[in-house]
Symmetry: C2
Subunit: 277 residues, 2 copies
């Protein structure tokens, strides 16, 4: 099996993917994107820091490392194009990249993946590179959603799908039918942070957990870029927002460390459930 | 012309409606909803405070004041049903009201309006009761949106319409194609407050205004309840979020004091535009 090429943005996901692939016996070469990655774990892998404006050098580095399959994972800031470090290919493609970036962050990620594919690399999904991370159907841990939670989950997925179709966000919180909070550029963590600021009649409290966080793949995403991710911190944040639980789509979301997530969910009294889309 | 019956929630809108109707020579009787209205202006009008759980008494009060046309305006908190003051009709209708409330705040408002109509009152829109408040097509003030702003306005309306169809919210902020912020239960003001917390590369700054706030009627709203409202405070809040301007749908949004809004927009360098839906 050829080495896995991991173009890495920020956050916990790229590390989890790299570790899972290495644990499965595969060589991993990392291209951390300058400006987006500051994490320490990069040092444990062969790597070369490059700018998203240097697609020519990114492809050269990956091919030089014997990579045939490539994966883009992690958070990538929309770059300031006027400050971007560019190689020759980057200069050529910049107008298209700016146009893509205007359609949303995902469009930019898809654009970068597309360049790799044009150069003969095969883009694969996190699910293919690290199948152990993919959410399965059913409850993780001991807490189970009731019928009202199931109704909230259904409504939250409807909202997320509508938003995702417009490349807006991939998460929403619904509490007894009411949409409390919807994700756009701020990200899921910041979205959860504002729940306690809502009127108490609308949300849960420390004593009575209410409402559900749902995360789903944007319909535009082809699972090669930015799959929704749930980790231990997501469970902690959902608990701090007084939520009753978290729902993801089975097969279309990642759970970074299933054992640790289940343990934390049990400790805090939340459910974490994978639902067939 | 019969007296106008105004079932009033919180916020600036009910006062603006009552003043506009009285300025046009019409008698106004107000039913401020307990728990939602604390404003002082009520004292200037004949009124009776009642709970949203007392539809029988609300209708009796309105009919006693010679009201034939009724209007519900302002913010109504989803009540805690276990604490709600109920009359006989309220007890009868409570199960339906709870079911309606679970579908979102708008469903509850539509339910209250529906009860009035069942009792022979005619529900009218703010546009009918106070046509001077309705947004018109074109720019209000001296600042004009450019082509990029127009593109952001179009994308923001697409997002708001998709959200509105699901009874989620009625406002969104888009900046150069990227959805920065989407309204749910927190309301437009709180939604704008979080823009400065986003990464600077995504948003405007004090020196360079970027992005557009769009507000639109939810497709489910029949304009008898919760039309989107822009006032002087909205302009101030949009400026504090470093936005370039505000867009509403002509004929389907309210501008509380057009002269004051235009003056504030000019002072802060923002556009305020009504767009044909």
């Amino acid at each position: 099996m050829s080495a896995l090429g991991l173009i890495a943005g920020g956050g916990e996901l790229p590390r989890a993917v790299a570790m899972a692939a290495r644990n499965a016996g595969r060589a991993v070469f990392v291209v951390p994107l300058t400006g987006s990655v500051t994490e320490d774990w990069i040092k444990d892998f062969p790597h070369e820091f490059l700018s998203p404006g240097e697609p020519g050098r990114i492809i050269k580095a990956l091919k030089g490392a014997g990579v045939a399959e490539v994966l883009l994972a992690g958070k990538v800031d929309r770059p300031k194009f006027q400050d971007l470090k560019l190689d020759a290919k980057g200069v050529l493609l910049l107008p298209k990249a700016i146009a893509a970036a205007k359609k949303g962050d995902d469009a930019l990620l898809r654009f970068i993946v597309g360049i790799c594919e044009d150069e003969g690399l095969t883009a694969i999904s996190v699910a293919q590179a690290a199948p152990a991370l993919v959410a399965e159907e059913g409850v993780l841990g001991a807490v189970v959603p009731d019928a009202e939670h199931r109704a909230d989950i259904e409504r939250a997925f409807k909202i997320v799908h509508a938003l995702g179709a417009l490349d807006v966000g991939q998460a929403a919180v619904v509490c007894e039918g009411l949409a409390l909070s919807v994700e756009a550029a701020e990200g899921t963590d910041a979205m959860l942070l504002r729940i306690p600021g809502l009127r108490e009649s609308l949300r849960g409290t420390a004593d009575k957990k209410r409402g559900v966080l749902a995360k789903a793949l944007k319909p535009l995403q082809d699972a090669k870029t930015d799959m929704p991710v749930v980790g231990v911190q997501t469970v902690k944040n959902a608990a701090a927002a007084f939520l009753a639980g978290i729902a993801v789509e089975a097969g279309a979301a990642l759970i970074l460390d299933k054992q640790a997530v289940a343990a934390e969910a049990d400790r805090l009294g939340l459910f974490v459930v994978g639902v067939k889309p």
